[in-house]
């Protein structure tokens, strides 16, 4: 029996989507930690060292494909989900309701779409350049690495780019604020004792992640 992606059950789609979403979230944590290293020393040595490790470690290389696959899966399922949900209500209400208890749930496709645009620009700016372009090497006492840090510093000196970056990250934070607890609910993990903790943790985590990412361009731009 052949099955198109549209014909998978609603719950199956949400389960896969939540696993992909949680995986992407774990990737964000690693990404943030490495990014923060750039603020550590003016010579960018620690950051370039870490970037070098990420670009050469075999396990990380494998995970790069897993990550890519995770994004594709999450985005495609998200789109299918949203299209079906629009179709499920052919005539909209005259007076819109706002009864959602998880506020940002209303805007997942919108925040998701901006994150997607950000991802493409991000991909062109960093990933493609780092992987296929030529980046000036820099030599430290510990060795010679490509100076990826300089690329970032240069980009964040552009005020327009900083604004775009900050807004995108804010929307990512909104996406995660709903997404984090939503993923647990989708997986059936709802418990009178732990769910309030998961919700609170998700919100604090989203705020911390957002602040972490936003700090970097702001510090570079204003120094």
């Amino acid at each position: 029996m052949s099955k198109s992606a549209f014909s998978y059950s609603s719950i199956a789609k949400k389960i896969v989507m939540s696993l992909a979403g949680l995986f992407l979230t774990s990737f964000l944590v690693v990404h943030l930690i490495i990014n923060l290293l750039i603020l550590f020393d003016d010579s960018r040595e620690l950051f370039n060292q870490a970037a070098h490790f990420m670009a050469t470690n075999a396990l990380i290389q494998v995970f790069q494909y897993v990550l890519f696959f995770g994004f594709i899966l999450h985005i495609i399922l998200g789109l299918i989900l949203q299209i079906q949900n629009w179709v499920a209500r052919p005539i909209r209400y005259e007076k819109k309701g706002f009864s959602e208890l998880s506020y940002f749930s209303k805007f997942m496709i919108h925040t998701g779409a901006i994150i997607f645009i950000f991802l493409i620009i991000h991909f062109v700016n960093f990933f493609i350049k780092a992987k296929f372009g030529h980046i000036e090497p820099i030599t430290y006492a510990s060795g010679t690495y490509e100076d990826l840090g300089l690329l970032i510093v240069k980009l964040f000196e552009d005020g327009g780019y900083v604004i775009f970056y900050v807004i995108s990250i804010l929307l990512l934070g909104f996406h995660l604020d709903h997404g984090f607890q939503s993923a647990f609910q989708s997986l059936g993990l709802n418990h009178s004792r732990y769910t309030p903790f998961i919700k609170a943790f998700g919100t604090i985590f989203s705020i911390a992640l957002t602040l972490g990412f936003i700090t970097i361009p702001l510090v570079i731009y204003f120094s």
Partner: protein
């Protein structure tokens, strides 16, 4: 009180509908919302006009027949009650009240504010029952059931199938309804026998009928007149996942 009502009028599912404004005067603040509509309809009948069709039956908040999407909320502005239990004191004199039918593809309009909720019956028919085909009536306490489980099942069973969850959900998802109907059996020994087939068949039917996908907005719980918890949705997700993982291939 004097009010302006903006009511959705539609002769039947095949014809286009539109909003019509009505003025009602001297409505008592102690009248129920449906009584207010009765007063409007009496006048419309006397004037030789077509009265506004809306669903209602018990007017006691227990049958689930009444509906109405009032000012952006199913069953109006109060929490935990049906439209028939709401009174006009919840509105201000001179207010404009927008009244719409439940909006969802599986709930076609029959007439005006009345929608066809047969889709819910079809979901029940797909597995929302326990088949007991043999034997006499067992003793009520023959099977010991922990109080907590009995309470959970009872909470789920308080669903009156009104469809407010679908109406409130931005995705027109029926997950709260279906999960309540799955949960009321899932936690009881009598329901465990058919638990796997039940959850799979009911979810498949729900999807087939064209209800939306749940994105955990929890608007359903906020608007449910019986305040059924979304923890039932999580239970159904669990039941569904484990039934898919452990069940044998169907022959």
């Amino acid at each position: 009180m004097d009010l302006t009502l903006k009511i959705w009028r539609q002769p039947d599912a095949s014809q286009k509908g539109r909003f019509v404004d009505y003025q009602v005067q001297n409505i008592s603040a102690d009248a129920s919302f449906l009584e207010m509509l009765d007063i409007l309809n009496e006048r419309l009948v006397i004037e030789g006009e077509d009265p506004v069709a809306f669903d209602h039956d018990c007017r006691e908040g227990i049958c689930g027949a009444c509906s109405l999407y009032i000012n952006g909320r199913p069953h109006g502005p109060d929490k935990g009650i049906t439209t028939c239990q709401m009174h006009m004191r919840r509105f201000k004199d001179g207010e404009t009240i927008v009244i719409e039918p439940w909006r969802a593809r599986p709930f076609p309009v029959i007439k005006d504010l009345m929608v066809d909720r047969t889709a819910f019956d079809e979901i029940i028919r797909a597995g929302g029952y326990v088949s007991i085909n043999t034997g006499g009536v067992p003793d009520a306490n023959a099977i010991p059931i922990p109080k907590r489980d009995a309470d959970t099942a009872m909470d789920a069973a308080s669903c009156i199938g009104c469809g407010a969850c679908v109406a409130a959900c931005k995705n027109a998802s029926a997950m709260l309804f279906v999960s309540a109907k799955v949960s009321q059996f899932a936690v009881l020994p009598q329901g465990k026998v058919e638990a796997r087939e039940r959850v799979q068949n009911m979810v498949a039917k729900m999807d087939e009928l064209g209800f939306g996908n749940c994105t955990n907005t929890y608007a359903c719980e906020a608007e449910c007149p019986k305040e059924i918890s979304v923890s039932h949705i999580a239970r159904m997700n669990r039941e569904f996942l484990s039934s898919k993982v452990v069940s044998e291939k169907t022959k």
